[in-house]
Structures are given as structure tokens and as C-alpha cells.
Amino acid sequence: MAPRRKAASPEPAKATPVRQSTRKRPAAKIEEPSNEADNDKAAQASPAKRPRGRPTAVSKLQNGASQKKSIYDVPSDDDDAVGVGGSNKDKAETHVGDEEEEAAATTPKRKLKTSASPVKASAGKNITTPSRATRFTNGETPQWRRNDRSARKKSAMALIERVVAGDASDEDEQEELAQEIYNSSQDEDEEEEELEEGVEGKTQEVDESKAAAASPSKKPRGRQKKDKEPKQKGRTCKKSPTPPRDLPPYELYFAQNRPGAAKTSSNTLASLELLTHEEYFSILHQHKEHHAGDIEYLQSWHTENFAQWPLLHKFAKFLYDETPDHESSKIVIINGYVRSTSIREMLGTIASAVEPSHRLPAGNPSVMLESLKALLSSHDINITIIINSIDAVPLRRAGTQTILAQLASHPQIQLICSADTPDFSLLWDSGVRSAFDFVFHDCTTFAPFTVEIDVVDDVHELLGRKARRVGGKEGVTYVLRSLPENAKNLFRLLVTEVLMAIDEEGMSGGENPGVEYRILYNKAVEEFICSSEMAFRTLLKEFHDHQMITSRKDVLGTELLSLPFRREELEAILEDLMA
């Protein structure tokens, strides 16, 4: 510890990571009061990607172990503290102990040489004040103070503008620089305060242990890995990035959304092979839920309570009250999570439950509702509607909820529904809510959403990968089921062609070889799949919408069609289509 500190203080121009410097500053301060400005400068200079820094012998020695990590050029210096790993495993190793982490923390100097992309360097120059050159010679002039302030102001402005303009990811680097300038000068302010408060007595070790304590992951077990999250923040030591647990939610919101709060590492999932649908389901199939028994017990416990529910639901309008014989009461089940759920379909189904032969006149849902009500009152029947996930996305439209509420308030209708999200009650205004006349029960089941969500696609969409792509064989089968026969035939044709092309040409650069648009069209016409190019394009459009096909142009400009599936998947699809 001590040697490192020495290394840091006499050579302030070396880009000391903010985090490190903040930690040590109180101690350094006592020894060399004149150092303050230098340290400030160090903090200041860090965003500029350390163009002038020279590695000291000490740091070089210390850095030997984690040398290879430095090839990662990451603008935020907190990464130094974190130790940017080449892979997740690397990271895990570097965080085995505080000592090693410290070693990692002193590594930045290497970066100066190796990395620092030109963009960033120049960006940094732009932002830092012109008086910088002189600053190092006569560091403590009031002018630099002023300049420093103005830099901070500017970066604050930049941040504000960015927030106002919305997020454009290409500006990220700029933003981070601005953020760093903003933070670093904030740090320096804070340090001044802290000094005044007289924290001098603390040794660095104490500070570090404090930092460790302040980091939110107090759990010893998950600790090493989780440390990364919080410690990415620039000012870990002084202000824990994750505020204390007992903050009320709104305080937490502001604490985490204050400018400069959101600092994360630049690790990506690049090294991780993402799951496919097949792998997901096959593993899930084998996996035994640890809590299966408990969940089942919970389920049965809820089931026992059902006995009381008919009474409590809809207030003593007992399910079988006026109409004891079972025939005159029907149950309609609505699955809100099904993406194609529409209010018309629901009303239609209910109408056919009242009278199987009856067809509601299609039209405006509210008109349909009126005629459904008329139909209900002319029949002596009780309908129980069970809605799975009333708060599912397809049902979230205000109009739908109003219709459901009016339906529920009909005397011949009982409604039982489940809600999955914590904020479901926001769906209803007081009028709708009182029309529903709900009675609530807490039925936490811990049952996973198996049918409600498409896990793999959802996660990939969340990560911004291959959004909307129909997943694997099941996805294709699913889409094709809703398409006409000739679409299926066309897809079969395309799969066959692509498979043949793979056999002939092999894979090129991880992509399937393409089939020429013209050739495919001709074949399609030959097989009477379509008669005009118009129809052909319409069919292709459908595939394209579901991202079941890819198209590209080769060097000559010929349009090539292909499929974004692996060979095995293609074979499985073909098998399925032929069956």
C-alpha cells in the first residue's frame, strides 16, 4: 500500500484512476498538503486517456500479473478498479481478493501506451481546458480553478443536453468523458469537505475496509462476483453507488438516476454462446426444479381455499345460486397472454357459449357488447369468465379493459381472473374498477410462466439481439401453421434449395449460402405455388416479417435469399414440413 501511494503522489500527472486517488487522498494530503492540486489534476486528467502518463516502476511491477487485461480500452477509469477481464472467468479470478483487486487498480498506466483510441483522446482534449499545459507547471493558480469549474459546467451542460436529446448510443463515449469530468470535480469538492471534517486520521486500509463495507453486496458468498456491479461507480469509496438499503423507493430512484450514477462495466456477453430454443427446452426438460414439491404444496393450499371463493367472488352471487343445474352455467376461459387475443374473439366466444349457433354481428366492440348483453338477458344462463393474466399485454388497451368491466358488471356474468404483474391496478380508473367490483386474493404460486412468455426470444429482445426472429423449428412451425398452404410449400422449396446449396457450396462465414431470387421464383411457378411475382413477393414478405428468411445481394447485384437457421434445424424443419 504505502509504496503505491508514494508512487501516486510525487507523480501526479500520471493518470491515477479517480477511484484510487479518492481513496488515498486524505492520507496523501496530510503528508504533502501542496499535493491537493496535483491530485485534483490527476483526477482531472484521467478522462483524457492519460496521454502524458508514464508508468512508474512500482506500478509496472505490480501490473505484471494482470498485464493482458489492459488491452481493453475502456474509457471509464473505474474499469481499472474492476479489472477488465477478457472473459467472465478472468474477471472472477481477478477478484479473488482485495489485494489482487488493488493490483488491478493500479494498472491504468499501461493503457496510456497501448490503447486510448484517437477519438477518445481528442474528445478528451476538447473537453479539458486549454490552460492545461500550464496547469502542470503552476498547478495552483486560481485560473485553473476557474477553468476547471467551467469544464465541469460544460460537461454538466453536455450531460443535460444528452438527456434532453434522448439516448443515442454513438455519443456514449462523449458522454462518459463529460461524466467523468463532472464526477471528478465533484470528487474533489467532496474531498475538500471531507478534509474539513477531519477524516485525516484514517489510514488507507481503514478506508478500504470501509469501502468494502459500503459496497452493497454484504453477502459473503456472492460477494466476489457481485462486487463488479457496484464498484464500477466512480466514487465507490465516498458514496456507495448503491445507497443504503433502507432508503425509501423514491429516494433510491433519485439516487440511482442522478447524473453520473449509472456506471457499468463494458463487459459483454460476447463470449457466451446464447441459448437456442432447442437447447433451452431440452435443458429445461431435464432440469428438476428445486422447489417443485413446495410449489405444488402451495398450489394445493390455494386450491383448498377455492371453496370459499365462489362465495367471496361477485358477492354472494353464488355460482350456482339461482341456476342449480349445471347446464345453464358455462365457463369461458380467456388466455390474455396469447398474442392474438382480441376483444372481438372474446365476445364472440362468450356469445357462442350463450347460444352455440349465435353469431355476434361483427363490428365495433362496444356494439358487440351491447348485442351480447341483449343476448344474455334473453337467456337464462350464467357465464363464468376465467381470464388468465388480465394484465397481459394484449389486454392492456384501455378500451379492452372498459369492455371487460362492463361485461363483468352484467348480473349474469362472473369474472375470475389472474394478474401477473405488480402494477396491474394501474389499468383501471375508478369507474372501471368499481364496475369490475373485484375481490382480491393473494395467490402467489411461484409457477413459472411457461406458456405466457417465449423466454428465449424475450431475453434476446431484451438484449437487443435478433429481436423478433422466429425461434428455431418450433417458431417456424408456429408461423407456418397460420399461413396458407402455398406459403408452406414455398418455404419447403426454399429449405430444400438452401440445404442443397449447403451440400454443394458449404457454409461461408457462418452464413448459409443463398438461393437466387429469380431461380426460386421460377421454381415456385413451376410447382404452381404462385402464379405471379406479386403473389410470390407477398409470400416472401410474410417470411421476412417474421425474419424467417434473410436476403442479401452478391457482388453482381443478384438478390440472394437464405435462411437464418443451422443445418440441423433446417433438416428438422424440412422433416416437419414433409410430414
Partner: protein, 711 residues
Amino acid sequence: MADTETLGQVLGDQEHQAAYIFDPAPEAPVSARPAKRGRISKKHAAQSEKPKEKHTHHFQPLLNGLESNECLQLRQDAFLKSWSRVQDRIDGVLRETNQSTLEAVTAFIKECTVEMTDSRIPSALIITGANMASQSLLFEQLSGSLQARAGAKVVLLRSGDASNLKAALRKIILEVVANPSDAGEEQTSLSITMYVHGKRYLNYDLEALRSHLALRPSPHVIVAFQDSEAFETGLLTDLILLFSSWLDRIPFKLLFGVATSVELFQARLLKSTCQLLYGRQFDVEQADTIVEKIFKTAVAHVDAPLRIGPVSLQMVLSRQRDQAAGIPVFVSSLKYAYMCHFYTNPFSILLADNAPQVALQAEHLEVARSLSSFRNHVEASLHGKAVSHVQSLLDDDDYLNRQVQMQLLSSRSWVCRSLRTLQILMCHQGHASKFTQLYVDLLSQGVDGLDQLPDFVNSMRRMDPAEMMSLLNQIVAIIQDGDSNMGLQGCKGESVPSVTLLSGIVTEIQTLCREAEDAGSTLRSEYSGQNKIMRTTVIAQKVQLSHDAATLTPQDKSYTRLVEEAIAHVEALLKCERAEDVWLHEAWLYDFKTPYREVFMPRPRSVVQRALLRPHDYLACSCCNSSKDQIMPTLPATAILYHLYLETGSLINVADLWTAFFGIVSEDEADGLDERTALVMFYRALSEMRVLGFVKPSRKKVDHIAKLAWL
């Protein structure tokens, strides 16, 4: 388990269609089904098994299942009867409250046919107040009464129904043309919407409406905008313009429900549009007053079989206030309390009409002896040396049975007494609190003399003779006449002494007043403010203030005596113990917090949060419960992720999240998951977090997601 299903199976299944009719007739093997479906079918099975006996008994036998069928039936009938009576009274109140408004509006609509002079549209602006839930009731009543009494065709428009001009017109035309007033032809008129008078019209063409009216003339076509504030201004303007241009052919009238004020309503419209309207303002009784009325007739009423206790009431009332809930919500809260009482309390049979003939079962009596109110009663009796009474209560079932019946009757007199007390307190002018609050306080604390009411005593003392006389007269009137709203009958026979005493005081005060008048002074008591005379003396350039008791005339002195007497008498009247102190209050008092709060004021956020933070609360497993604040690898994946989520900032790096997650679940040597399985769990947990609305995609950085919820 459900998770063993593959997507393919799921897709092929009828049960995952958007909507279908569940026909349990071919009972599928329940066990083979996945969880979600199993739940539904089990639920249904539970229902379908019962109908045979459930048909007669919806309630479950209590007293450990020993309750006899007669008692069960009685309990159920008692519920149905008592609630239907309460419901009737509430309906009556609701009908009455809006009556004046209804009449006024109807009269306005009728008279406007004549004075429709300068081609402006007659419009009634109905100030409904902010309570949306009660608006619909009012407008339904309005529509009914206008149709019945003015022969009008009424179209109710809600902002949700009419998003644009076409939709609004279509709805208006459809509703008028297919008006249920000619119910027999409903079907046909629906189909001829396009063909009115043999001609084909677009269904948003007012010409269709005109030709329909030519066939079936109607004096008024009334369009009611229920929530006028929620309508787009442009749409409203367009509609008004259109109506005004058709006014010479179609007799349009408008109703606007205004939640704010007429000024604001006017400010939203263009001046030129406003000039097309011939408006009049109508006020509606506000929800608060209606609630209080319902409260008096349904909750506080003497005949209300069930007393709802202070805790429950306080909760209902505060919900009413905090959530701006409507009247229906209040009514259903009451109904829920009734249901819970009759459903869970074996003694509720005592509230049945033929209760005196009911022979309580031995089990009933056994339970009765263990009631806390019974214990209190026994203790009190022992203090009063009524040992034999206690002896018989404990040993003799018949005696206890008789006593219970008697006690029920006396509980009724308790109700009367408490209501009268309440009334007397209410006529005390200075009492700021509302009736409902006073009622709740009375139930929970009771009144024992005026010691608890220093305000009341003080203000009585300070009253001048006129005030005092009117107060005493009011009290006398309350005792003699009762209160019809609450079914409180005049108890002339019972309270004669206090009535004579109080009216005696009144006459005495009157004579004293006259005497004082003759003597040229005003009558006052020694407590009244004016009897202190302030003297200002200047002594050595200092102002000295001193109070002196003014000399009291003999009349004043005797008035003071009368005041003291009156206070003593009133005090005697104001005696009422807490509801919970009455023996056997368990039979007629419902005062629980638990089911109500969960059932009507759910806190889904905290429920979800708890389930994710401490799943063992639900799963009752030992493995996840750690005393220390650490994340157990056995937690459900989503719960682990949620724990990690709580520690993140507003932007979350999924790569780091995954590393942390994997670190936790792979930790356990024996049960640790391998990477791919862990990834599967991670995927599922992450997608569930998304469904729960905790995270959303972020484009700020690669592989990052944004935090959405701060719970």
C-alpha cells in the same frame, strides 16, 4: 410440472387459444395436466362436485363441522334476508338522493321545447363532482327518467365510446334508431339502420336519424356526455356545431356531466361554440353526503342486523376517502362485511328473524361460554354478587339459552341508546366532526358521562338562554320523536322522566328570561363570557388590567343553577358503553381488519416483492431461509435475480448480472448447476423480470438493460 412442456406441445393445445369454452363434461385426467391448467380444472372440479348439496347450502358448516344442517340453512337464509333488507334501504336512498336533480332536469328538458327561441341547443350542465364511479349511476337514472317522463330518446356517451366524430355519430344514431323503447322491433331496427324509410344511409349520417324520427317522432333526442372533461375539445365542438345545424330538423338536447365547474367547461370551448348552447346548471348531491345517508340507513340504522365495528368501519371510510371510491364500492364493502360475518360466525343465526325459536346446539353454547364477552359478563356479575346467575350460566344450558335470547333483546336497546347519544352529541353545534366519525368513536370508546366531552360541557355552560333552550328542545325532540332516517323510534314511555325534567328546565328558563327582560337586563349565567368585566386602570402610567366578576342578579343565579341541572340531566342521557363491552356482542358485531384489507385494498407490489425477497414465506422451505442477509443458491432463479437487481443502478450490465448469477447458483458443490442449466434458469428469470415490468431493453450500451421499478 408445467415447465416440462415443450413449446410444440403447448402450441398444439386447444387450451392455449385466446378464448374457448371450457366444457368439463369429458373430465380429462387432472393429474396429467400442467399446473396452470390443472388449477383451472381443479377449481372447476371443486365447483362441479358440489352442486348437489351446495344447491341448498352455500355455506360451510362451522363449529368444526358439527353445525347442524338447520343452523347452516338458517345462517344462510339470515344472510340473504338481512342483506336484502339492507340493500333495499340503500337502493331507496340512492333513488331519493338524485330525485330532485332528476326532476329538475326533466322539467328543464320539457319546458325547453317551448322556449327554444333563438335556435340554441338546450343543454343541462350537471355538476357531478369528481367521483366518476357514481356518475354512471346518475346518468342511468337520468336516462331512465327522461325516457319515461319526457318520452325522450337518450344516448349516453362516454369518452371511451366516442374517439372520433364518426364513431360518436354512429353510436348516437344506432342508439336512437335501436332504442329499446320499441323493444319488439329491436332486431329489425338494428338491421335497417342503413335502410331508413326505404333509403340507404351511411351509418354516421344524421339524415338517417331524421328519417327515422319522421317515422317515429320523438319530442327530444338527448345526447348525454357523461364525462365531458374527458372528451376531446375538438370533438365536442364539432358535435355541438353539427347538432346546432340539424336543430331545425332533429330536436337535440344535450346533457353534460361536469366534474369541475361550469366556468372551466366554458373555458374549454370556443366562444362561438358556447353561444350555440342554451345551458342551465344543475347540482348533484355530492358523494360524501350520499355516503353519509347510506351510512345512516344501512350501518347505523336500528334495524341493521349487523353492527359493523369501529375498526372495519374506519377502514371502509378511509378507503372511501383515500381512494375516492364511489358509492357502489361503499355498498359492496358493507356487503362483504355481512358476508364474512354470516359465513364465518356460528352465532350469526341469532340474527335471523325467528331467532327466539332457534334452539342453539350444545356446541354453540360451549363456544358461547368461551367468548371473551362472556368472561367479562361473568366477572362483572361476580362483582355484583350474582353468584347463582353465574352458576346457572356455566352449568345450565337452558338457562344460558334463555339468557342469550334476552341478551339479544337488550343489545337492541343498547343500539337505541347509542344512537340517541349520538343524536344528542350531533345537535351540539360546536361539534365539528361528522356523523360517521362520531359513530365510529362512539362504538370504539363509548360515552361515559360528560367527563369525556369537555367541549360539550363548556359550550353548554357558555350558551345564552336562547341557545340553551333550543338545545334542550332539540334533545327533547330526539327523545320523543326519534329519527326516521335511522329508524330510531320515539321512546315516549321510557324516557318520560328526563323529558319532563328537561322541558321543565326550558319553561323555567323562559320565565327567567321574561323576568330579566322586565328588569331591563339580559339573562346570563356565571359561566358566560360577558360576566367578566374588564377594567382598565391607569396607575402610575401603567395600564392595569383586571377581571372582576360582574355582579349577578338573582335571575342570573337561578339560571346558572338551571344550566348545571340541565348539564347533569344531559349527562345522565349520555351513557353508552363500548360495543365490545356488551355481552354477546360477538353475535352482532363484525369488527375485523384482516380479510377486508387484503381483499379490497390489495398491495400487489409488496406481495410480489415479498415473494421475490423471501420466497420461503410462501414455499415454507427451510433451504432458502438464511438469517444473514445473503443470497441462497437454492432460491428460485427469479428471486436471486431480484436480489441482484436491487443492488444495481439504473442501468444494468447483463454480462455482469449473469456472472453474478452464475457465481451464486454454481456455488454449491453438490447441487450447483452447470453453466448451460444455469443459463437456462437465468434466461427464464430474466424474461420473468421483464414480464413483471422490472426491466426493459436499453440502447445505451451493448448488453445492457434499464431498470424500471424501484420498489
